[in-house]
């Protein structure tokens, strides 16, 4: 998307600061309210997931309109936008969570490592093991802390012996930054933990089945700032091994944790770009109005 540009020709020639500066005016101008074409680069070099022309309908209502977006490997991408803009709906498409809603209809293509996840031969349970999810409200199973983490690996048949399972549970809790707080109380119920600890337990549960992508739907909205900071630090550490997609209402959080940010508005993907650019110099007027608090 070309807006107005300061001429850089002299700079490109390697000369000193040009004597005459002029201003280039592109005919396209700046994306205004009516332009609903995605602004910014939707393609990445090393995509983990590739979404092409995704439409989502709830009955007659269209919730997502022709969204195309790449999610890069080992990146944290944040989805932001006002309530009802479709960011959570789109997130839930990425591991077919919307399948559970009978009136929901999804068209277009979503690929995980070149495999169409909506292909008939795809086992949804396996898919959700590869694309894990953490929800807004911590939702530990009404079981012990140990069982919460052990449940997934056990049903997926990932371990053969009790010792292996113990190791896996410990390891997952460690990666979720929770082990120190729970190692002496593994058999207490998961619900006995504080909100922030419960959320980290849910993350430990998600990473126990060794997913490739983790979807987070407002993971910190029920947490205090300290617990939020711990989760954000965790997200940063998890990025080494996983691809993370996070939906958040807090723009500061999106700015803190993500490398790329996508802005949704009324079902359209309005703009996507480097987080730094989106929050300092967005190219679409809707993005600008949203992040500066001028909305509606």
């Amino acid at each position: 998307m070309s807006t107005t540009a300061i001429q850089t020709k002299a700079a490109l020639d390697g000369g000193p600061t040009p004597a005459v500066e002029t201003r280039e005016q592109s005919s396209a101008g700046i994306a205004d309210y009516n332009n609903r074409q995605t602004v910014g680069k939707i393609k990445v070099e090393n995509p983990k997931m590739v979404c092409q022309g995704v439409d989502v309908h709830y009955g007659a209502k269209q919730a997502i309109k022709n969204v195309s977006l790449d999610i890069g490997a080992n990146e944290v991408i944040a989805f932001i936008g006002p309530s009802g803009c479709g960011k959570s709906t789109f997130l839930r498409c990425l591991n077919r969570m919307n399948d559970t809603i009978p009136i929901c209809r999804i068209t277009g293509q979503i690929k995980l490592d070149d495999e169409d996840i909506y292909d008939k031969i795809v086992d949804v349970v396996q898919l959700r093991a590869r694309v894990g999810m953490v929800f807004q409200k911590p939702n530990p199973f009404p079981k012990s802390i140990y069982e919460n983490v052990a449940y997934g690996p056990r049903i997926h048949g990932m371990v053969n012996t009790k010792a292996e399972l113990d190791e896996l549970v410990r390891n997952s809790l460690e990666r979720a930054g929770l082990i120190k707080e729970v190692e002496k109380r593994m058999n207490e119920p998961g619900t006995s933990l504080s909100g922030g600890q419960q959320q980290r337990l849910c993350i430990a549960r998600a990473i126990a089945v060794n997913p490739e992508v983790i979807l987070m739907d407002e993971p910190c909205s029920a947490l205090d700032p300290i617990a939020t900071a711990k989760i954000e630090e965790l997200i940063d550490e998890l990025r080494e091994n996983y691809t993370i997609v996070i939906v958040t209402h807090s723009m500061q959080q999106a700015a803190r944790v993500s490398q790329r940010t996508a802005y949704f508005h009324l079902g359209d993907l309005i703009e996507v770009g480097d987080t730094d650019q989106i929050f300092t110099n967005p190219r679409h007027k809707l993005t600008e109005d949203y992040i500066t608090g001028r909305f509606g």
Partner: protein, 246 residues
Amino acid sequence: MPISQEAHTVKQFDVQLANLRNMVLEMGGLVEDQIQRAVAALDEENIAASREVIARDRLINGLQVKADEDCVSMIALRQPLGSDLRMIMSLINTVTDLERIGDGAKKIARMTLQIYDSANSPPSAKLLRDVRPMAELAGNMLHDCLDALARLDVDKALAIINSDDELDQEFQSALRRLITYMMEDPRTIGHAINVLFIIKALERIGDHCKNIAEHIVYLVEGKNIQKRRNLDVHTIVALAQEKTEQ
């Protein structure tokens, strides 16, 4: 992305931003007045007026402190993003440059005292010949800066950046003339050095105006054109990529 004209949902934020901008423009007006007074005092050999210019510099410094505080509190309390963030960053930088321009006016006033408030005989008119045209150029640049800031006019800001070269050239030729006078008649050296400080102050005012113009371009366009000052290979590559992306 240019500055949105829409109001913020939080009206108080609009009020604070408008107040800040008005304060910076007010400070700019004060600084402009200081330059005019300093140069007029030099012209009229007016000691009292020069002292007044020096005393009034405190007002400008006070405004800078106030503007800085307001910027910090807005960043802390409002967490500005996008054009709001660029507005605050540009204004905080502009305020620094305005304060330095104010120092320039004070410098001119101090030199006026050096020249006329002493037992020495006054300098010959030819030594001061270059001051007035340079002061006019610098004054115009500052005036245009404030105008461009008030209207968020990028084209005007770019014109200011280009016009700084003219002031630099004026300074170079004035400097050469001063050196010639000093070589011709060493008795002029004392005054010539004072005049040199004055024209140097005016030349610096031009540089600060150029900075302000660059802040305005950043504010409106979100592009930092200062980075082209020290071009290295990486910057050139980055700029080339930027160019192809557009």
